[in-house]
Structures are given as structure tokens and as C-alpha cells.
């Protein structure tokens, strides 16, 4: 499942552009690969993040995975629901499983993100 209204990274994050802001999470493919998510370490509100630099950690039962920020900017909001319910990442990766919202620093960076068709190709999903 690769929603049309989002952009993607090759590390399996999704981005929803909301004016000057961007909402970030991980994709259906990512949560399938990860397995049951048991802990999410998110960047703090106010933190500066850089495009494709690790900004957090997603722990599944078996492994620790880096969370990469798809764009550079300042973290405005962090999903408070994930601390108690990390399984939301598995159950609703594009909805309730959202991770953080950032203030976009440089909109030109959006050019480096993958449109849905390219991401579909990356993960081998037929539309």
C-alpha cells in the first residue's frame, strides 16, 4: 500500500507536505519488514533535523532500526500516542502511527524525495 498523496524516502519514511510543514512516518513496507514495533525513540520538540540523517530509533522485538528525517528543519510536534502504543506503527502506519511534524527549512529538498510510483518500484509493489 503506497498512498498517492505522500512522498517517500529510500529508507521507507513517508512525508505528507502540509504547507510549510511536513508530517513524517514509516511506510507499510517498513512496518512489515520491522515486525512488531515495541519502542519508538523520536526526536525532541525543537530539535533540528537534517535530510536523511538519523533522528530517532524504531525498536521491533528482534532489531533496532534508524529513523531518518526525510527533510531538514525543526521538529514542531511529536506523536504522543506512540510511547504507550508503539503498535500503532504496525496497525496504522500512515494514520495514527505518524511520528513527527517538522517545519520545512528548504523546500528545494523535496526534489530528493521519491514520488509514489518510484517508491512502489523500490519495494516491488504493483499499483
Amino acid at each position: 500500500m503506497v498512498p498517492e498523496n505522500l512522498l517517500y524516502t529510500k529508507e521507507h519514511e513517508w512525508v505528507k507536505l502540509e504547507d510549510s510543514k511536513a508530517r513524517v512516518g514509516v511506510t507499510q513496507h517498513a512496518q512489515e519488514q520491522l515486525g512488531d514495533v515495541v519502542f519508538v525513540e523520536l526526536p525532541k520538540k525543537g530539535a533540528e533535523v537534517k535530510q536523511m540523517a538519523p533522528c530517532g530509533v524504531i525498536e521491533s522485538v528482534k532489531a533496532v532500526s534508524e529513523l531518518y528525517s526525510p527533510l531538514s528543519g525543526t521538529v514542531l510536534e511529536v506523536n504522543p500516542g506512540l510511547a504507550d502504543h508503539p503498535e500503532k506503527v504496525n496497525q496504522d502506519p500512515y494514520g495514527d502511527g505518524w511520528m513527527f511534524v517538522l517545519e520545512v527549512k528548504d523546500s528545494k529538498e523535496v526534489e530528493h524525495l521519491l514520488p509514489p510510483a518510484n517508491y512502489r518500484e523500490l519495494v516491488g509493489v504493483t499499483p
Binding site: D36, F39, K62, V64
Partner: protein, 368 residues
């Protein structure tokens, strides 16, 4: 060195179930089917079915087989009754553990069940110490191992079993039929729950698996096998023990019978017991939501104290738990239940506390 990956007799079944497959100790094994948490909970609450055919089975025969094995295993073989099983380790001369294993006394033979990763190592060890009084054979590829584990295991399995299962005590086995296939059925397992391990001829394994699955027992992979055993505080070779640890250091003194006649490693273990241990395997639980992992460093009162040997998320307790080898000889404070420790996770200290084993008490029928 094995370069090709091996398939258990049940690979086709796992593929049919869309299992996530991973290479493990040279075998293609199911990590999970529906998800580790769900599979784990199935076993704790009711039942689950495992394919453990990657484990090694070594058959030992001959008039001197028992006495020969008793020279390597630290536990006492002689008192074992037919059908009875024994958990033990085999040590090197320096006391380091080569493997932990289960030894079955069967009709006219012994069967060693060893870790998949150590099968070759133990065969080579037996080869290096061979005697005309005994012979041994690697039967790993001919024998499949399935496990039915959980508080409902007996009730579930009984209709398939020719043997009355309540006649099989803990760490005992009996030969009979399961789903009309000849099987050795033992009340053993690695989950902390009641349950059975079924040794069947490899060619018949798919039939047994499918018969059991048809009555809706959920399949459980190696991912949940690990979280289940960790909650039960069972050790994993390669994590919690290896050739650099002695059984005394990792809490296995109960399988070391120093009153036995000589066995490999006995002298070193006696010396270590007399001198006192300088390292100890402890159980700990995180006090925040973080997850400890193998290799993470521990500190106690600001001093480096050792490393995590096994760590994961406990689905039952809903927090991180682990085992760690603590350098008690280097510390001034005693390390016991309630001692606070700091686990270093990605450069930050996270609070944890030493606790009692097991973390979770399941339905395993010890002492029956």
C-alpha cells in the same frame, strides 16, 4: 564449513504459511508467521507449534556408551531410567562450555540433542575422544523435531497420541505414535510452559505438522521462541554462555555434579568453586520503556560492571528484560535482587534493576 543453507523437512509448510524465513545456524528457519507478539501470547495463554528440526541429534550406542558419555557431560548419566532425559553441558578442559544439551536414555542407546550451531563441533569433539566401547552417528537430517507448547499442550496433543500423555513426567519421554507416525514424545521444552517435543522421522514430519495444524494450533517461529525462553530465564548458547564461560558462572552449577568420577573440566570447576566466582549471570528488568540488547554495557554505581548477554522486549511484562554477565569480582557492592544497574543504550544510561528468575512463571510441570 557449511556453505549451502539447509531446509528442514517442513520448509514447504512454512512457505505455505507465508512465514518470514531467516537463515539460522545454516538452516532456513521461520522467524515469525503472524507476528512475534501474537505467537508469544498464543503459547503463554494456550498453545503453539514449533519446527525445531534444525537441532542436532546424535545417537550413541555400544556397551560402554553410558560410561563414555559420563566422561564428558557434567551431569550424572548413570541414574537415568529408560525414557528419561537429562539437561547438561559439555565442557572443555579449561571449564569453558562447548554446548548445553539434552541426553535421552532410550532403548539400547542414548540420544544427544544439541544446538544446531554446535552439531558439527560436538561430532568433532566425540570423534577426537572416541573409544572402541561406543559408536556415535549424526542423525540430524533423518530426525525432525516438532514442539507443542503451552498450558493447553497436553489436551491438544492427546487425541493425536497413542501414549497417555499424563503418564509422561517432566524430562521423560516415551515411544509411540503421533498422528499415526512413530514418535519419541518427551515432556520437555524451552518456553517455560508445559508441553512436548516430538521426534519423528524426517519424511513423516510434514504429515504430523499438517495433522496438528488442521486442528488449529498456531505455528510459532524462532522470534517468539526467543522471547518465551528469555521470560523463562532459560539460557541461549552463544549469548548467555560460550567457551569463555564456565557453568558455575552462568548459574548452571545444578548440572555440574562434582561428586562424579573424573569428567572433562572437573578440576577447573572444583578450583573455581573453591576460589569463589568472579562473574555471575544475573537477570534484570528495565525501569523505563527501553529495550536492552546483547553487548550493551552495564554500570553499577558508576563503575563498569559487565555486558548484556541476552536482551529483548517481554510481551508478558511489557518491558525490556535481559540477562547479563556481571563482573562481581571487580565490584565492591554485592549484586543481588533489587540492585540498581544502568544499561548504556546508544550512549545514554537507562535504569534497570536486578530481579529474580524466571521473569515469568509459566505452566511448566517441574517436579512431576
Amino acid at each position: 564449513m557449511e556453505k549451502t543453507i539447509k531446509a528442514t523437512p517442513l520448509l514447504a509448510q512454512h512457505e505455505k504459511e507465508h512465514a518470514k524465513l531467516i537463515p539460522f545456524a545454516g538452516w532456513q528457519m521461520p522467524l515469525e508467521y503472524r507476528g512475534i507478539l501474537e505467537e508469544h501470547r498464543s503459547v503463554r495463554r494456550a498453545k503453539g507449534l514449533f519446527d525445531l528440526s534444525h537441532m542436532g541429534e546424535i545417537e550413541v550406542t555400544g556397551p560402554g556408551a553410558g560410561a563414555w558419555l559420563d566422561r564428558f557431560i557434567t551431569n550424572k548419566l548413570e541414574a537415568l531410567k529408560p525414557g528419561q532425559a537429562l539437561y547438561t553441558v559439555i565442557c572443555r578442559e579449561d571449564g569453558g562450555i562447548l554446548d548445553d544439551l539434552v541426553v535421552y536414555r532410550l532403548d539400547g542407546k542414548f540420544m544427544l540433542v544439541v544446538n544446531a550451531a554446535n552439531t558439527r563441533k560436538i561430532i568433532e569433539w566425540l570423534e577426537a575422544h572416541k573409544t572402541p566401547e561406543a559408536s556415535f552417528r549424526d542423525r540430524t537430517e533423518e530426525i525432525a523435531l516438532l514442539a507443542v507448547q503451552g498450558p493447553e499442550a497436553q489436551a491438544f496433543l492427546q487425541p493425536f497420541s497413542s501414549i497417555p500423555l499424563d503418564s509422561i513426567g517432566y524430562y521423560h519421554g516415551a515411544e509411540g505414535k503421533v498422528a499415526e507416525c512413530p514418535a519419541l514424545v518427551s515432556r520437555t521444552g524451552y518456553t517455560g510452559e508445559d508441553g512436548f517435543e516430538l521426534y519423528v522421522e524426517a519424511a513423516r514430519a510434514p504429515r504430523v505438522w499438517e495433522a496438528l495444524r488442521a486442528r488449529e494450533i498456531p505455528p510459532v517461529g524462532l522470534g517468539a521462541r526467543d522471547t518465551l525462553r528469555l521470560e523463562a530465564a532459560y539460557l541461549l548458547y552463544g549469548n548467555d554462555m560460550d567457551e569463555t564461560t564456565t557453568p558455575l558462572e552462568v548459574g548452571l552449577s545444578w548440572v555440574v555434579k562434582l561428586e562424579k568420577d573424573d569428567f572433562v573440566g572437573k578440576k577447573v570447576l572444583e578450583d573455581q568453586k573453591r576460589a569463589g566466582l568472579r562473574r555471575k549471570l544475573v537477570a534484570f528488568a528495565m525501569q523505563d520503556r527501553s529495550v536492552p540488547r546483547k553487548g550493551y554495557k552495564l554500570h553499577i554505581e558508576g563503575k563498569f560492571a559487565g555486558q548484556v548477554t541476552s536482551g529483548s522486549y517481554s510481551p508478558t511484562l511489557e518491558k525490556g528484560i535481559g540477562l547479563a554477565l556481571v563482573e562481581t569480582g571487580a565490584l565492591e557492592v554485592p549484586v543481588k535482587e533489587g540492585t540498581g544497574i544502568q544499561v548504556e543504550i546508544r550512549g545514554e544510561p537507562h535504569p534497570a534493576v536486578v530481579c529474580k528468575k524466571p521473569f515469568v512463571q509459566g505452566s511448566v510441570k517441574r517436579g512431576t
